[in-house]
């Protein structure tokens, strides 16, 4: 299969899968087989593209002109390739996990769930492989709309409210700011193609450049830069596989991926650094990193805490872009992959706990670790990786981001990274640690025992839940040793 055909296959396989899932809605087993088959084909196709990209090619799939002079087309370069690989690989694992979770939890409307999920993956791959800003924008909007039914899956008043916040913020920012920024770029530069070195040098300068960057950065609501982060915690009402793959990987990473793509290929990091237009963004990102971590500390609901942790971690990537140095961009890009594996592990664990014990609050999970050792061990691994401790993948991306900050002579931001790591330790590790302490607090032992007596059979979640989360935890470990290869693969995006 040629790389060009592989791009088409990677984009179409999820859509074909969605169709098959819709047609097989009366036969759940076949339907799930279709999901997994589509996921496998998507990953294989993405891998085929990867081989070509690694060999130095830039495969391109032109579609047609949407408006005269402005084509829809797909071009794959290392940054997008990394994102596409991560998203498509984790889709396979999530598919298995969804089966365990959705059945274990007896969710309704499972067919709609799988259909929308597949469409969302296709859109995420569209974002990853877009050849110009317009294509990216369209895929970005499809991603927003296709995930809306997933967020509001339960159709309760609560999920309706959450859906409103979700759609409201994401659509308002993308139409209200991002579209304006895109049109401004088109009017000023006459092109929206992703071009190494950017397209704006000599076209937009000075304060205007900073304003344009502002429109882009806050227009990309999916990057969840504070104060536009509210949609992400709201989206947690969705079933956990959605939170895991979409709101820890595909959707949010599509946001920060777009941030990187825009800074590298539209603005050009040299142009940004020379004009200092991105200085304000460093502070915005730094603030989000610390503030979101502090908010996470106060959350007792596990998914809400993880959501705020995601907000904080996303800002790392934005910081990498704002530093506008080679190391910063590589660190940011690498963080997309590293954080993806870490955070999806944490969400898988949260879902497994919910399926097995129906517990959502952290304070209720004391002592659960004995009953669900694998789940909580995986949780600890994920937490350590997100915190950035070796020997897990997250250590490297923080290392590169730190190098980037040093390179840009922004020592303050090294301090921000350190402080945030400490906060991560404070809000993530206790969840795992307390789960393993004996569950007989001295003060109200009888009450605890009686709760125990009523539900003595908390065990590990179904295999379909546990195996995936162990795999992603293993992934966190393996990525630690693959960091050099990833850095080498990403290097071309900052070469000039």
């Amino acid at each position: 299969m040629s790389p060009e055909a592989a791009i088409a296959a990677a984009l179409l396989a999820p859509l074909a899968g969605a169709l098959a899932i819709g047609l097989l809605h009366r036969r759940p087993n076949l339907r799930e087989t279709a999901t997994i088959a589509a996921a496998a084909v998507t990953f294989l196709a993405a891998y085929r593209v990867f081989e070509a990209v690694e060999a130095g090619q830039r495969p391109e799939l032109p579609l047609f002109d949407l408006v005269p002079g402005l084509a829809l087309h797909f071009v794959v370069e290392p940054l997008g390739m990394l994102f596409a690989l991560v998203a498509s690989f984790l889709w396979i694992i999530t598919s298995f996990y969804s089966i365990g979770y959705m059945r274990g939890h007896r969710e309704d409307n499972q067919t709609r769930f799988y259909v929308c999920f597949a469409i969302a993956i296709s859109a995420a791959l569209g974002v990853a492989m877009a050849g110009n800003m317009l294509t990216l924008f369209i895929a970005y909007e499809v991603l927003t709309l296709s995930t809306y039914p997933l967020v509001t899956h339960h159709r309760s008043p609560e999920s309706m409210r959450a859906g409103r916040t979700y759609l409201g913020i994401l659509l308002a920012t993308s139409i209200g700011l991002q579209l304006v920024a895109i049109l401004w770029t088109w009017a000023a530069a006459g092109t929206l193609e992703f071009t190494p070195g950017g397209v704006l040098a000599g076209k937009v300068e000075g304060v205007q450049l900073a304003v344009l960057l502002f429109l882009y950065m806050y227009g990309i609501g999916k990057a969840a830069l504070m104060p536009l982060h509210r949609w992400l915690p709201a989206a947690m009402v969705a079933p956990t596989p959605v939170s895991a793959l979409l709101h820890a990987v595909a959707v949010v990473k599509a946001g920060v991926f777009t941030v990187l793509k825009v800074t590298v290929y539209i603005f050009g990091i040299d142009h940004l650094r020379e004009t200092g237009a991105s200085d304000w963004l460093m502070y915005a990102a730094g603030f989000t990193i610390v503030a979101a971590s502090v908010v996470a500390l106060t959350k007792d609901n596990l998914k809400a805490r993880l959501a705020y942790s995601t907000v904080s971690q996303l800002a790392y990537v934005v910081l990498g872009a704002a530093l506008a140095t080679s190391w910063g961009v590589i660190g940011g890009a690498m963080h997309i992959a590293m954080h993806a594996f870490g955070k999806i592990t944490l969400f898988f664990c949260a879902g497994a706990i919910m399926v097995a014990s129906h517990k959502t609050e952290i304070s209720d999970m004391v002592g659960l670790g004995r009953r669900m050792p694998l789940t909580f061990a995986a949780f600890a691994v994920g937490a350590l990786s997100v915190t950035g401790l070796p020997p897990f993948g997250g250590a490297w991306s923080k290392w590169y981001l730190g190098l980037g900050a040093a390179d840009a002579a922004e020592i303050a931001f090294i301090a921000v990274l350190m402080a945030s790591s400490l906060l991560n330790v404070a809000y993530l590790l206790p969840v795992a640690a307390r789960a393993f302490v004996p569950e007989d607090p001295v003060d109200d032992a009888p009450a605890a025992r009686s709760v125990d007596a009523r539900r003595p059979t908390v065990r590990e979640a179904p295999m379909f839940c546990v195996v995936p989360l162990c795999l992603t935890a293993l992934g966190c470990l393996l990525l630690f040793f693959a960091a050099d290869d990833i850095a080498a693969f990403l290097a071309p995006i900052v070469e000039r």
Partner: protein, 492 residues
């Protein structure tokens, strides 16, 4: 035959209208054949105009400027295509919707009025003679009053009456303007008037004519704040009529405004001698914001859509007020795209009417599950209305914002997107109720089940076109750019 296409465009439906009454039993077949034939003619006309340039046709062989000239350029060929296209989609739909909302007997009278309205709109668009334009305008207006008054609620009568009074005043303003122009130039042929106007020195007669014509057209196209007749008329009219009129009548009025401002009076007089652009822009912006905000607070889907029409007309007038080729391109493009989206939305309302008599938002609770295809069409057309990528509405917004940048007014771009966000709110209000709220026990008794295919197919044709023209934009964008350049380039 080919040479007489411009005359055929009007004559086919004009003859078919009384024929409907004569052949009573087969009135629907006659109406359908006539409107499809008119659509075919408009396609041929557009094809010829694009290939050969402006077509001039002398009616009855009397030479212009004394005789009546039909003059087809890319702009009005496009308008003809929109009008006949929408009529051809809406007519099949009426066969099932007519017995529901209007009449079970004497349907031939409805088809007669419908075809007359179509004739009038086509005549307004095609003619090159100012007085002829007035006559056709009144033909279309009178028959549209009849169509509106057929609505299921008795308020349709008062809505039609109010529209009659306002519409007649507007038409009379237009005829006064034409009379004054005739007094000043001694000609009724629009091109001839344009050629003779500079010699008049643009005295007060011409200025008065300009004022009367602009205001008259502004009422007809429901420019804020002269829009007050429209929400009532569209919300009480039968849904198929609302779909037809919302998609065509106001569009033709916008065409009239463009024609007079740009072709007859010329850019120099309309926008440089007189300060027309700024007030038009202000009113357009007010329409976009005020009407959208009012739409958010409406209780009935039909009224939401009606106020939304007023807001959308704001976009078209905004494009005009930029007085540039990009601005006009956006206007003309939105003329086309808005016809598609608003047509589809009103047809959806008609589908709902098949199952329940109320259009109040509260009574739509849970309808998304009862009528999945109907509401899916609503979502598609609603997304187009908002301007989500891959729909026709996005293309309109794209060109409009681009025109704002070309105009050097980035704040206009910001206002345009801000008003789109208001659209999100009122569209989503309906979507939420339809999909998330369960029907309350006290709500209107609604039969379960989907609307029949005879209603769904036309609805989905329009909804599907919203997606198609969001992807393949060559045709509308090409024509709109061609027409805009001709309008701006015609007068230096």
């Amino acid at each position: 035959m080919i040479a007489h296409l411009p005359a055929l465009q009007v004559v086919i439906t004009l003859i078919a209208a009384p024929a409907c009454i004569l052949v009573r039993g087969r009135d629907f077949a006659v109406a359908l054949t006539a409107s499809w034939a008119a659509f075919a003619v408009s396609c041929l006309l557009l094809d010829r105009v694009l290939a050969e340039g402006v077509i001039s046709y002398e009616l009855g062989g009397w030479a212009a400027p004394l005789g009546i000239e039909y003059r087809v350029d890319s702009l009005n060929a496009f308008v003809l295509l929109i009008v006949t296209g929408i009529a051809s989609v809406v007519l099949p739909y009426t066969r099932s919707s007519l017995p529901l909302e209007m009449m079970r007997e004497k349907t031939y009278l409805f088809y007669c009025a419908f075809l007359l309205c179509l004739t009038g709109l086509l005549g307004v668009a095609i003619t090159g003679d100012a007085f002829n334009l007035f006559v056709f305008l009144e033909i279309s207006s009178l028959s549209s009053y009849i169509l509106i008054s057929l609505g299921p609620h008795r308020r349709a009568l008062t809505a039609a009456y109010q529209y009659l009074v306002v519409g007649t005043i507007a038409a009379t303003f237009i005829v006064i303007g034409i009379g004054l122009l005739y007094g000043a130039t001694g000609s009724l042929n629009m091109d001839d008037i344009a050629a003779r106007l500079p010699a008049t020195g643009y005295d007060r007669t011409v200025i008065a004519a300009f004022a009367f014509l602009t205001v008259g057209a502004a009422v007809k196209l429901a420019l804020f704040p002269l829009h007050f007749w429209l929400p009532k008329a569209y919300s009480y009219a039968p849904s198929s009529v609302s779909a037809f009129l919302a998609a065509t009548a106001t569009k033709v009025a916008v065409y009239v405004l463009i024609r007079f401002l740009f072709t007859v009076f010329g850019i120099e007089f309309s926008f440089e001698t007189l300060p027309t652009a700024a007030p038009l822009m202000l009113l357009a912006l007010l329409a976009m914001f005020v009407a959208s905000t009012v739409a958010i607070f409406q209780d009935s889907v039909k009224r939401i859509l009606a106020y939304s029409s007023v807001a959308q007309i704001g976009y078209m007038v905004l494009g005009i007020s930029m007085v540039s080729a990009p601005g006009l391109t956006a206007s003309i493009l939105h003329l086309f795209n808005h016809a598609l989206m608003k047509g589809a939305l009103f047809l959806v309302v008609g589908c709902i009417a098949f199952r329940q008599s109320s259009f109040r938002i509260d009574d739509l609770a849970g309808i998304g599950r009862r009528m999945p295809w109907t509401m899916a069409a609503f979502v598609v057309a609603g997304l187009s209305l908002i301007g989500i990528p891959l729909t026709a509405g996005f293309i309109s917004k794209w060109y409009l914002i681009l025109a704002a940048f070309a105009h050097g007014a980035w704040w206009l771009a910001v206002l345009i997107v801000a008003s789109s966000l208001l659209t999100v709110i009122y569209v989503w209000r309906v979507v939420e109720v339809a999909y998330f709220r369960s029907p309350t026990s006290g709500s209107v008794a609604a039969e379960p089940g989907e609307a029949p295919a005879s209603l769904l197919v036309p609805t989905w044709v329009l909804a599907g076109l919203n997606v198609y023209f969001g992807l393949d934009t060559t045709l509308p964008v090409g024509i709109a750019q061609h027409a805009a350049r001709a309008l701006v380039g015609a007068v230096p």
